[in-house]
Symmetry: C2
Subunit: 110 residues, 2 copies
Amino acid sequence: MSKLDDRALEYVAKYFKALTEPMRLKVLNTLQDGEKNVSQLTEISGGTQANVSKHLSMLAQHELVKRESRGTNVYYSIADQSVYELCELVCGQIGNRMSMNADIKKMFTA
Amino acid sequence: MSKLDDRALEYVAKYFKALTEPMRLKVLNTLQDGEKNVSQLTEISGGTQANVSKHLSMLAQHELVKRESRGTNVYYSIADQSVYELCELVCGQIGNRMSMNADIKKMFTA
DNA sequence: ATGTAATATTACCGTATAGTTATGAAGTAA
DNA sequence: TTACTTCATAACTATACGGTAATATTACAT
């Protein structure tokens, strides 16, 4: 991140944007177990088929998932394992913050 | 990212959201050199003072930057070094994309 | 060819947010 | 006090985006 110009910053920003929807994160989370088709993802996520399809299409466009149609089904799988590293990092951050708040909270409540 | 519930997914999503604006990334990028006040950040980023302030306020709210006022100036600095790891990961991913032409690719990987 | 299932896409609505302009608040110096 | 500097915060506009419902497309079966 040393000398990114405006063009590069937009790329990075757009990549992050793919990870700003809980539904998309849920889909990525689900795909950790292996490929799933749209019906399965729709059921697991609890969303509507149209909505899940839209999100999948977006994730595919950003090359976070791979698309492969077999018969009338379309199977999606993770294209980029490193996305989980991103989430781990963020979760770590959030975890640190929450535990810190808990400690502070403890000082006032204990 | 093994068993994140809906609540956790929203936290993660919101964290990523802070990184989806080129202007905010530029600010974070600039702060790698050390703390800067709003005037400096405004000049470097090329934005308006109001806009930069708004973004800084958002970054501070998400605890990505620290705020310290000295006199009439307000100095911001990185609160969470790990944000650069995130960016490195994303840049690496983008750099790996085959479809991108060489000179742009160089920006992400160099 | 007709019908059915799985997925994608379109059109629409509501909301969220980035940017701008103008104003407000806080500190400092005369 | 008044004036000036620095930063924050409205209020507003425009645009982007998520969700839904309806429709289109694709593949397969009968």
